[in-house]
Amino acid sequence: MKRFSWFNATSLTLGFAFLYVPMIILVVYSFNASKLVTVWAGFSTQWYGELIRNEEFLNAAWVTIKVAVMSSTIATVLGTMAAYVLVRAGRFNGRTLFSGMIYAPLVMPEVITGLSLLLLFIGIGLDRGVLTIVLAHTTFSMCYVSVVVSSRLVSFDKSLEEAALDLGCSPFEAFRLVTLPIIAPAVISGWLLAFTLSLDDLVIASFTTGPSATTLPIKIFSAVRLGVSPEINALSTIMIAIVTVGVITASLITKQAAVRQARDERMAERPA
């Protein structure tokens, strides 16, 4: 059934234009031959070439990736543990308080998170650099991981773990051999989410960074203040690509598992 009307078409176009025109302009101008950002002078990939030769940007990119990998990995471990405890521990006194406290950073303004972390790091005399950004990113992305993982754990059949215990597993083995492989898609998408969050964070990173560690968003932000160059467009395009791939992969992993399940179940219906 096709329901085409000019009203639908217009609202759809406007909606998507609102979302994507700015990014499309950015991507298009990253292939501009001219040095002037607003004047089109033919197709060229020269800015990508210059980007590769620009050490400052490359350094910043390397720092960003290091921070993202480390913080998302730590956040995934901690977030999964938190989710597991909150879902499994059942009712204990203060359960609501605990789960509320895990989810609160989701809605906490980044400026406040950044500032309070800065005060903490100064207070304990920790030199600001890669380590402090990793800690800060872990702090805020951990709750995203625990949200993703706990929503999977809620629908997880507890008798699977009991079966593992019953067959001779210690509680840790039961988690490693049964629970973790089954919730792996959720853990992986949690990791990818944390990774992308860390990749494009500007506010918290600028609060907690030091002179030795400049992440890409900070670098771009400071470069833009001196004027937008096509190089930045190229860099941003690459970042858009990475984030897009990350998000699509995360959703594909979840979706594929569901599709495979459905196909296998159809197969089970057929007599062998």
Partner: protein, 374 residues
Amino acid sequence: MSQTVFAPWEDPNEKPLIQFKNVTKRFGDFVAIDNLTQDIFAKEFFALLGPSGCGKTTMMRMLAGFEAPTQGQIFIAGQDMAKIPPNKRAVNMMFQSYALFPHLSVWENIAFGLKREGKDKDAITARVEEMLRLTRLSKFAKRKPHQISGGQRQRVALARSLAKAPKLLLLDEPLGALDKKLRQDTQFELMDIQEKTGTTFVIVTHDQEEAMTVASRVAVMDEGQIIQVATPAQIYEAPNSVYVADFIGDVNIISGRAKPNGEKVATQWAEGQPDIIGTTATKFDAGQEIHFAIRPEKVAISTEEPQDAANKVQGKVLDIAYLGNISTYHVELPTGHVIKAQTANTRRLSRRQITWEDPVWISWTDTAGVLLER
């Protein structure tokens, strides 16, 4: 072929495999198990039967080690199980949901427990193949649990729980998810496997037919207590209470006052009606309130007045339930009591002579029913 009857519970020298000693289990204010003491013997097929919430699943979970008793002790093979975690018990469980590991193949599911024991590869392979043969699953070894049918999944669950050759196998509503035909086949399969492996089975079920079919003894439970433990035949023929009589199969209950008369007891149950004459081993006081219970198939129905019946009463047919092989007649007595009488349909339907509103006689012998105190 002569065979000694399997009844270790009657042998005072036999040591029980499982002992519940004054076990109480509370969840908050709710008492799931109420001061329960029970022995279960090796090689028994023991059924825990009762409505949901009667504590039967809690008993099983305490045996598996997933719940600890609030008070009292549980012994398995003479060992107090209080401090023993589930993974250290020679007990395996077949879960109601089967709880098959979805990320592992049928083969790996069955091998799971054996691998945890740290057996060598050849021993594991041999044992898994043996279990696959026993449960007729060899063709499906490489499939994942969601790639096989419900009946096959149920057999994988059974094979997995039997693979470690446990002393005790717990089955939690194992056949609940199967349709009736498959369930009946599987019941016989279970008995067969139990006999072949010599494992002690404890099964939890709310299906009385299932318990009667598979079990060597049935424990009927209600509100955290075992009301009666006996063989299926005893439970059916000689229930110890109205609850048990009513829970197992169909029954007519007539309440009245006892009038002991030598070997027999007469029950006064209605003005102007002859007393019901029954036999019993229990002593009743004159005037004591008693309940006469009789199974519908032990009540005869006829259009003519029966001559030498110990008990007979006239009524009219209120309803007929035709079930194919048998028919149940609901007969209303002048007192308002409705008595169910069952006859086997050995003749074709067209030859049946009793129909709705017909005046009929129902009768039974003096040994057909049981007299119950409560």
